[in-house]
Every structure is written in structure tokens, then in C-alpha cells.
Amino acid sequence: MSVRKTKYEMPEQDPKERIHNFKEVPYGYSKETAIEEAKRCLQCKNKPCMKGCPVEIDIPGFISCIASGDFEKAAEVIKAKNNLPAVSGRVCPYESQCEGECTIKKIGEPVGIGRLERFIADYERVKGAKIPQKVTSSEKKVAVVGAGPAGLTCAGDLAKMGHTVTVFEALHGPGGVLMYGIPEFRLPKKIVNAEVDYIKKLGVDIRYDMVIGKTITVEELFKEYDAVFVGTGAGLPNWLNIPGENLDGVYSANEFLTRINLMRAYEFPTYDTPIKMGKIVATFGAGNVAMDCARTALRLGAEKSYILYRRTEAEMPARIEEIHHAKQEGVEFKLLTNPLRFIGDVQGHLVEVEYQKMQLGEPDDSGRRRPVPIPGSEEKIHIDTALIAIGQSPNPLIPKSMKGLTLGKHGNIVTDDDGKTSIPGLFAGGDIATGAATVILAMGAGKRAARTIDAYVKAKK
């Protein structure tokens, strides 16, 4: 029997409709489609896809359960390794993870592993997730700083191992970027909340309004806990550092998205946090964050939503699906453009951006061809809102407040592969260690650190 060369389509909201609402774009597979898609899996003996999975899910295992219609078993297989499958099933860049390794890729599209993971996670959530039986308490206490995917994964795994875990979160809610960064139409907040509830049911206690380094110091945590895991993310926004960046109308992607997602400014004035949206919006950058900004702007009524990027589409770091959705929704890409300055009116409101056209030159260190300016190619366009989405750096709050902690050149906490830092008992993982990366890498780091911490606290007298 020959294998179908393309993935089964996942139905989604019509682009014309969805740019007027914040509802999720894809609807997910039906049971029938999920089973058909699962049957495309060749069940390779050497399981190449698993090499691409930082949280070590038995991928052929759960897919064969789906193929035979045993969805509950499939959920068990996934949950054995992944505490947040409804999240990773939506935002993971599968193309460069598991699906990138799929054997069928040689002849066509890989198995829709991400779509299947999502299907199972949603199936289980609706039915009510099974909570694994509590193991006997180890009498060891671990503090986890930051309730993003790294912290939540680490906390969940440690709780499953029998440790008492408390998560300390600076904001008033859990999830980190999942809550404040990634928009509702891509990752509904009630789904994040449901996954967090699962972590809590494993016995994890989450405390909010706790800025570690300010409200409580890491040193103080050590007095009460046997080990500390830091998963404070890459919250610090990067700037273009060009004139006019402080004008009214220029936002960091983080401010824009936080107002809208965490503070629900799109439901202003029911919610108190405002957002001021212009009609002509330009987003700078071409990663997931940039796509989220440009697509959110449309939903808030922007008439034009541009993406300005220095390189070409081939170099865009965003997930393929995000670029595809952005295009469908009418986001206009101005590629090979480099902003030079923002121009304001007399009152200081943004009215224009001046940029320069670029061309691709020699490859740089990353192997990508370096964009070089074309002399005399300066142009201006009228814009009233600018969203800067050119990356984030590690949050400096904890790194700065700790003596003896080895830091990398971007202010990241240096760890080994298992999450150990230069301070005994202190572990770290996720964006704070790697710089801005992905949800799944943060989860993988949290998972490996949990194993290291388990060994560390057990060895500790």
C-alpha cells in the first residue's frame, strides 16, 4: 500500500472572518481524520522523529494508539513525557523538530505529528485529564522561579517524582510567554489554564506577585528549599537603537502583546488596560513574535499591517504556519528593508519611518547571507504604530542579583546540558539559559533539569 504524500488538512477559520476576532484559527482534526493521518506513520523501528523531540515523547507509540482508535492510551503515552501537550501541539515548530526527521519526508510531507499531538491533548482535556497516582513524598523541597514552560515542566516532573514543589512567579498569572506573548487566536488562554491546572493537580503550588531578587532573594530560597530552578525567560526587549524609538506610537512587541494578551486590552473597557492602535502598523522583525504582532494589529482594526525585514523570506525565523497565516490574512511583507529612523509630528506622535533597501551579500557567521545596504535607496512610508519585534534578551533580574553565577555574553545563565549552573544547588533552563528560543526547548530543558535536581536532592543529606 502506498503512503499518502500529503498531510490531511486541518480545517480553519476563514481568513476574512478571523481577522475580526480573537478566536483560534485552526479547528483541529476530527477523530476520523486523526485516525487517517495516524495511519500514514510507517512505525519506523529506529524512531527518527524521537531524535527531534526535546521532551522525548514516544511518537510512533502514541500515533499507533491513535491509528487503532485508542485515544486514551495515546494520551497516556504523551503525558508520560509531556506535561503541556495542548500547548506544544499548537506552538511547536514541528518542521524543525520531530517532523523534520520523519522518514516520509523523503517522498512527501511528514506525518502531521503536531496536529496529532494537539488532537489527543484536546481530546483528553475535554474528557478530563487523568492525574497520575501520587508517589510517596521524598520530603525534599524544590523552588522553581518563573511559571513559563521551562518552570512548569520542571515543576510538574519534580512533583511526579515525589518532591514538594513551589513555583514563584513575578506576574499575577502563570504561563510566561504562553500567557503574555502568544495571542489568544493561536493559543487560547483557557487551554493554557487547563494545562496549568493539571500541573497544580500534580501537587505543585504556584505563588504569584513574587519577583525573585526583589520580594524574596535566591539566597533566602536556599534557606527553605533543597534546590532552586531558575526559568525566568528572555523578557528583556531588544531595540533597533535608531532615532525616534521613544516616540508615541512605538511599542516593543512585549508591551503591545502584554497589554493585549495578559491584560486583555482587546476587551477594553471591560478590562481596564488600554491600547492605542493606529491604522497603519509596521512590525519590525520576522520571527513568531513579529507574526503575532502583525496579525494582532489586523484584529484590532489596522487597515494596513506591514512586516519590515532586513533579509528575505527564506531567512525568516518564524514557523512556516505563522508566515502562511499572516499572508492569508493580508499582512504585507516589505523584505530587504532596514529601518533608519522614526519620524514624529510636532507633538511627538509617530507619522513616518524611513528605511533603506538591502541586498544579500556574503554569508555571515550563521551561514545566512548578510544583508548589505543599497546606497541611495532610502524611502519613507507613512505609519502611525511601530512594533519592535527583533528579539529578547535574558531577563537580567536574577543574573544581576547573584554573586558567583557564571553568565554568558548575552547575560544568559550558563548551564551544562543537565541544567547545572556554576552554583551548587542552583539549576536553570529555558530562555534564561539559551536566550530567546522555543517553547519545546524550554520544556526539554525543564525536563532534563528535573532529573538532575532529583538526583541532587536525593544525594543531599
Partner: protein, 275 residues
């Protein structure tokens, strides 16, 4: 949840509340601030810590009812709770022995000035305080600040109390009379801090100001609170709120603080608040 255990009306539209927040009180230092969110639908707003008591585990905040959130806060009473109250945030004031210092507070800016005055006096400084307000009724914490001041002046715009005029007028007189002033600390409306800095710049006196930009997280994540100091972008919530007054771009701060005036106006209309 954080309980309100005391509430006072200090002047028209200015209220004082003492909140039970032991962890915040345990760490609070003069110059730092908190961020609060009243309820699930609320916005996050920063308020400078006006006083703290480590023993009773309380933080005192003083606020002017200007927008939707502060108006709503003003309607809460003793026994009510605030959903989120996080801190202490920002860097503490640079409290040390400078010699002779002038502490200037304008309007509700007098509130955050109080713990700084107290700390500077306790650090052995000769403290000259100048408080300014539009009119007598809007003056707050006079007695408290006077208690910790070696010299004490009041100005009101309408002359209803103290000298008629602005704090900067008295500042000039004080500088001329004293000769050496080692440091000037100013907290108040942006325009006041700007004018004070214009005066101290002429005499080349070290000047510290405490800035109050719009904030969300208070952890350096959003960049909404950015201010331009000496041509560089700083985040007031982690690098500040205190900055070198001679180097702050006040005009940009004024502009950025008016970013949501229109929207804020709409929210106020809905709850029947007059701006």
C-alpha cells in the same frame, strides 16, 4: 489577596492606605515602588512606597485620584482586599551622607519624598525641605516631613499657605543663602522636576528625580516604562525610578505619559469619573 487595614483622606482627591503585605514590607526601602492590580479586570499601576513598617508587615501608599484605577482604589475601604500587590520594585534611593541636601516635593509627589527625607536625615544630612502644591488643601504630610527637616518651606501657587509661587523660587533663594548644596532630590509633577533641574543645572548641583512613567510588569519585560536619560534608553522599573535629574529628557517623558489619555478618558466616562 492583600488587605487594606487603614485608610485616610489626606486632601481633596488624595488618599492614604496601609496594606498588609509582609514580604514587600520586609524588603522595602525608600525610593522603591509597588505595582498593584485591584481585581481580575484591573490594570497594573505603579505607586511609590510612602512608608513601610517591617514589624507590622505593612506598606503605606498615597495616591491622587486621577484615572479609572486610582478612583476605584479610592472607593475601597478598610477590610477590602486588593488582588495583586507586588514589590518592592526598582532601585532604592541613594541614601548616604551628602552634607546639605534639599528635598523638594510637589503635590502627591510629597508622599514618596517622605521616606527619603526620613532616611537622609537619619544618615546625618542637613535636610532642607520644600513642599509645593496648587493650594493649601492639597498639601500633605506637612507635619511628618517637618519633623525630619532642619529647614522647612512651603509654597502654594495661589499663596494660600507659605510663599506664593513655585518650589523653584524657594530653591533659588535657599541656594543663594546657603552657598553649598550637596544634593537636591525632587519628586513631583514632571514639569516641576524639569524646572528644578533647570535651576540646579546652573549651579551644577547633583540632582536626583523619581520618575513615574506608565508601567505594566515592573520587571523589565515590556519596555513601556522606558525613559531617555543622557540620550540612552533606561527602564524606570528596574534601572530607576530614580535618575540623574540633569540628564532626563522630560519632554519625552511628558509625551509618553500622555499616550493613553484618550482611552483613559473613555474608561473614566464609563464609571462616571470627572477628569
Amino acid at each position: 489577596m492583600y488587605k487594606i487595614i487603614e485608610k485616610k483622606v489626606l486632601s481633596e482627591n488624595v488618599k492614604q492606605m496601609t496594606i498588609q503585605a509582609p514580604l514587600v514590607a520586609g524588603k522595602a526601602q525608600p525610593g522603591q515602588f509597588i505595582i498593584l492590580r485591584i481585581d481580575e479586570k484591573g490594570e497594573r499601576i505603579p505607586l511609590t512606597i510612602a512608608d513601610f513598617d517591617r514589624k507590622s508587615g505593612t506598606i503605606t501608599i498615597i495616591f491622587l485620584e486621577v484615572g479609572k484605577t486610582t478612583q476605584q482604589l479610592g472607593t475601597l475601604n478598610v477590610g477590602d482586599v486588593i488582588e495583586n500587590f507586588v514589590g518592592p520594585l526598582g532601585m532604592p534611593s541613594e541614601v548616604k551622607k551628602y552634607g546639605t541636601v534639599v528635598c523638594i516635593g510637589g503635590g502627591v509627589g510629597i508622599a514618596p519624598l517622605y521616606p527619603v527625607v526620613k532616611a537622609l536625615r537619619e544618615a546625618g544630612n542637613y535636610v532642607i525641605s520644600i513642599l509645593g502644591a496648587k493650594t493649601q488643601n492639597l498639601l500633605i504630610l506637612e507635619k511628618e516631613i517637618q519633623l525630619y527637616s532642619n529647614e522647612f518651606y512651603i509654597t502654594t501657587d495661589d499663596g494660600s499657605k507659605g510663599q506664593k509661587g513655585f518650589v523653584s523660587d524657594v530653591l533659588k533663594q535657599v541656594i543663594d543663602k546657603k552657598g553649598t548644596i550637596n544634593m537636591v532630590m525632587a519628586i513631583g509633577p514632571i514639569i516641576m522636576m524639569k524646572v528644578v533641574s533647570d535651576v540646579t543645572r546652573k549651579y551644577n548641583i547633583k540632582t536626583l528625580v523619581s520618575l513615574n512613567p506608565i508601567m505594566i510588569d515592573g520587571t523589565g519585560m515590556c519596555g513601556g516604562c522606558r525613559v531617555s536619560v543622557d540620550g540612552k534608553t533606561k527602564f524606570a522599573c528596574v534601572d530607576g525610578p530614580e535618575f540623574d535629574g540633569l540628564k532626563v529628557d522630560y519632554d519625552n517623558l511628558m509625551l509618553r505619559n500622555r499616550r493613553f489619555v484618550h482611552e483613559e478618558g473613555a474608561a473614566c466616562k464609563l464609571v462616571g469619573v470627572v477628569q
